[in-house]
């Protein structure tokens, strides 16, 4: 600041006013040497003097004493805020009006060439000895540079404030003690607080993660800058904002002034990341859970991921990022020719950038096992349609293949059975209409073309009782059971045949009869053989009987002619007839076995006539083999004869009880007790008769049994035990 010495009139001094004037204003005068612009005005404002610097600043040289140039020599004047300053309103005018100095006023001078200059103006009034205002002196200096700097600073501060207050980036300043000094609107909006609720509080109160804020403050105090430090801020509504904090400390002369924290809301980003992560995880889980083998490659075909099923299918683990196209050990086409990996479906999908569907191939595991599979490679493209990789799903079809082969084999097997079968095999619908018949059946029915008989009713084949039996069998099969019957069929050419028909239901998967299967086996031969056998047995019976009758005749004539008594002949005849009866029983059962009860009652019948209530037979139905039947018949004939002659049946008061049962076990045995009562007192016979000899020897030696005879006075008793092998009882 340069002060102009007031222009005082010297009292009787040596320096005249002119000298002084000269000293001040001349070309080499003092005022010209000063780096300030100076000009004077009279009381009316007319410019009376100015130095060169003033003219330089004004950009012009006003006429001294020009009444039109008042107060200031500037072309145009403005205030700092840009409003026009009239010459009459200048600080100079003000001083001339008020006689008061004006200090450090700032005005902008516009030169005629349009350039502007900031001037700092200091004006002092000029007074005469009476204190009357006679003018004023204005010293002004160029402060444009300072002004510009100041303006820029101001502007920057304003911008900064604006940025701080109105910027999209949330921001707060925190003091060295952790107290929030400032917070901008963006941050308040983000967290939902008012300024009052935040400023003056400790920053940690707003952090959900105390460790994080402690770490942040520690780092800042250590002079470290934070960049996108992830933290969690608590909103007014208690929700949490994920934020990334970028912060640094504003130091001033090693003094921690405050931190400036930029808070970037990354909640959405976090959420998106989380979603992405969970999507990815879900995808991975999905891939892991899918029973199909799945792997992915990059655009070059290098394998970058695969699931568990894929390694199981391959039998090995490919090297991620190194192995290409497919993780399998070896590949083959379905026909067995080797398939190079770079020609596998995945390679084709990548090279041709198109999805490939269900291409069949065979892979070989390192252990040599070959597995057929279907490949479904799909190229993966980014949003711009650029190939980024591919995903391949491989479906193991070995089970399917095996099942197919097994099915094929089974079908072929069934067909071959049907072809080879000598049975007539028919399939009927549930209404017994013929759906199909095998070759054998076709030839039995003597038809050339099977279609001629398809759809005809199964019942048409049969007549009479056989038809009824067929209907019954079909009914059973319709109910889910098995129907079976034997029937006669006469072929179109008149050939008689006999059939064993088995009708079974073909069940649907739900277990309901769907169709009927009829397996017809020709039993004509068996039937004929059976008839033949029956004929033979009848003939045998006839022969045996005639032979016995012949023997009877010979005996009767021999005995009679020999003078033997009739009673002897009767005994003989009795035994012969008993033997004959035994044969009757055997023949009626086909010479295999006979019913024990009927043998016994038949034998006793001649002796019990008229004494039915005196003979009691009680026991279960037991079948005895042929040999035993004959032997037992003879034994009972002897016992009965004896009873009629000497025992219980010889007297009117006696009675006979025969009881038997089967002892089941390892050796099934027929146990029989013969018990006579009420007859004459029994004495043990002195001589062993034919009957007793026959009994004891037959039971013990022929039948491997045991016989116990008791000749007790109240009546004869006998207990027989005869083993009957299970397979010989019919």
């Amino acid at each position: 600041m340069h002060h102009v010495v007031p222009h005082h009139r010297p009292d009787g001094g040596t320096i005249t006013p002119d000298t002084l004037h000269q000293a001040l204003w001349s070309e080499e005068g003092l005022l010209e040497t000063l780096p300030v612009a100076v000009y004077t005005c009279d009381a009316e404002g007319t410019i009376t003097h100015y130095n060169r610097r003033a003219a330089e600043f004004w950009g012009r040289a006003p006429q001294i004493g020009d009444k039109d140039e008042r107060f200031c020599g500037a072309f145009r004047l403005f205030l700092s805020d840009g409003t026009v300053l009239a010459h009459a309103d200048t600080p100079m005018a003000h001083t001339l009006l008020t006689a008061q100095p004006q200090h450090n006023k700032e005005v902008w001078i516009e030169r005629p060439d349009g350039t502007r200059m900031a001037a700092l103006v200091n004006i002092n009034p000029l007074l005469d000895e009476n204190g009357r205002l006679i003018g004023a002196v204005n010293c002004f200096q160029d402060i444009t540079l300072r002004k510009r700097t100041e303006d820029a600073l101001q502007r920057r501060e304003a911008e900064l404030t604006d940025f701080f207050e109105n910027g999209a980036i949330a921001m707060h300043w925190v003091g060295p003690d952790g107290i929030i000094l400032r917070v901008n609107r963006a941050e308040l909006a983000m967290l939902g607080y008012t300024e009052k609720e935040v400023v003056g509080r400790h920053i940690s109160e707003f952090h959900a993660d105390q460790d994080a804020i402690a770490d942040i403050l520690r780092k800042l105090a250590d002079g470290e800058a934070l960049h996108n430090y992830e933290a969690q801020l608590i909103c007014k509504d208690s929700s949490i904002r994920e934020v990334a904090i970028s912060s640094s400390v504003f130091w001033e002369d090693d003094r921690f002034v405050h931190t400036r924290c930029f808070t970037l809301d990354i909640t959405q980003q976090k959420r998106a990341e989380k979603l992405l992560r969970s999507n990815e995880q879900r995808l991975r889980q999905l891939l892991g859970a899918i029973p199909a083998a799945i792997y992915t490659t990059d655009a070059e075909g290098r394998i970058i991921s695969y699931n568990q099923t894929a390694t199981e299918l391959w039998g090995c683990c490919p090297r991620l990022g190194e192995d290409s196209w497919c993780g399998s050990w070896r590949l083959y086409w379905p026909d067995g020719t080797p398939m190079p990996h770079d020609q596998c479906p995945m390679a084709v999908a990548l090279k041709e950038e198109r999805p490939i569907r269900s291409v069949e191939a065979v892979l070989e595991k390192p252990d040599g096992e070959r597995v057929p599979f279907l490949a479904y490679p799909t190229p993966l493209k980014d949003d711009d349609g650029k190939l980024v990789g591919a995903i391949n799903m491989m479906v193991d079809i070995s089970k399917h293949k095996r099942a197919q082969e097994a099915l094929h084999a089974s079908e072929e097997f069934s067909r071959s059975i049907l072809r080879a079968s000598r049975d007539c095999i028919k399939v009927l619908d549930l209404d017994a209409r013929l759906l199909s018949i095998n070759e054998c059946g076709r030839s039995y029915l003597e038809v050339e073309d099977v279609s001629a008989i398809l759809n005809t009713s199964y019942f048409e084949f049969w007549s009479g009782e056989d038809r009824f039996a067929a209907e019954r069998a079909v009914e059973r099969a319709q109910e889910g059971r098995v129907g079976r019957f034997t029937a006669h069929y006469r072929t179109p050419s008149g050939k008689d045949s006999w059939w064993d028909e088995i009708v079974t239901p073909i069940l649907s998967p739900s277990g309901k009869p769907e169709r009927l299967l009829v397996i017809s086996r020709e039993i004509t031969e068996a039937k004929r053989a059976e008839e033949q056998r029956e004929l033979l047995i009848a003939e045998l019976n006839h022969r045996v009987k005639n032979t016995l009758a012949t023997v009877q005749s010979i005996a009767v004539h021999s005995l009679r002619n020999g003078g033997v008594s009739d009673s002897v002949a009767a005994v003989f005849e009795g035994r012969l007839l008993a033997l004959s009866r035994a044969h009757d029983h055997l023949s009626s059962a086909g010479w295999k076995s006979a019913d024990f009860g009927s043998i016994l009652s038949d034998v006793l019948q001649p002796f019990g006539s008229g004494k039915a209530d005196r003979v009691q037979l009680r026991g279960p139905s037991v079948h005895v083999p042929a040999g035993a039947a004959v032997a037992l018949t003879m034994i009972f004939h002897e016992l009965a004869t004896n009873a009629a002659k000497y025992g219980a049946l010889s007297a009117d008061t006696g009675y006979l009880t025969v009881r038997w049962k089967m002892a089941i076990g390892a050796n099934p045995t027929l146990r029989l007790s013969w018990r006579e009562c009420g007859g004459p007192a029994v004495e043990r016979p002195a001589r062993m008769g034919f009957g007793r000899r026959l009994l004891e020897r037959t039971i013990a030696q022929q039948l491997n049994g045991r016989a116990k005879l008791r000749f007790a006075p109240p009546g004869f008793r006998c207990i027989l035990e005869v083993p009957i092998p299970a397979d010989q009882r019919a």
Partner: protein, 110 residues
């Protein structure tokens, strides 16, 4: 008596004589029997079923139509005789005098 086996025929003839038959005519085949029946008119007949492989039933039919009672004598039992004849007395060979008496009695009473 129609019976092809000589020994058996002798036995039955003796039995019939013992039962009091005045005249006994014997035939060994269907043909013989039919010829005999054209000449004689018996009171009662005893017919063996199987005559050396030839069935006796034509004789049975003839006698049935002529209303001459008869009994069958057979080694087969009733199974060898058609059902229509099951009402007739059937003697199972061999048989006793008593059996024959009862059979003849039954056929005469019928």
């Amino acid at each position: 008596l129609v019976e092809d086996e000589a020994m058996v025929a002798m036995l039955i003839e003796d039995m019939l004589a013992e039962l009091g038959c005045a005249s006994i005519w014997h035939a060994g085949s269907v043909e013989q029997a039919l010829r005999l029946l054209r000449e004689r008119w018996p009171t009662v007949g005893v017919l063996d079923v199987n005559l050396a492989g030839e069935a006796v039933f034509p004789i049975a039919e003839y006698m049935h139509e002529a209303r001459i009672p008869f009994v069958f004598a057979t080694g087969y039992g009733s199974s060898g005789i058609p059902e229509i004849w099951h009402s007739k007395a059937i003697l199972r060979k061999p048989f006793t005098l008593e059996h024959l008496r009862a059979g003849l009695q039954a056929s005469l009473d019928h």
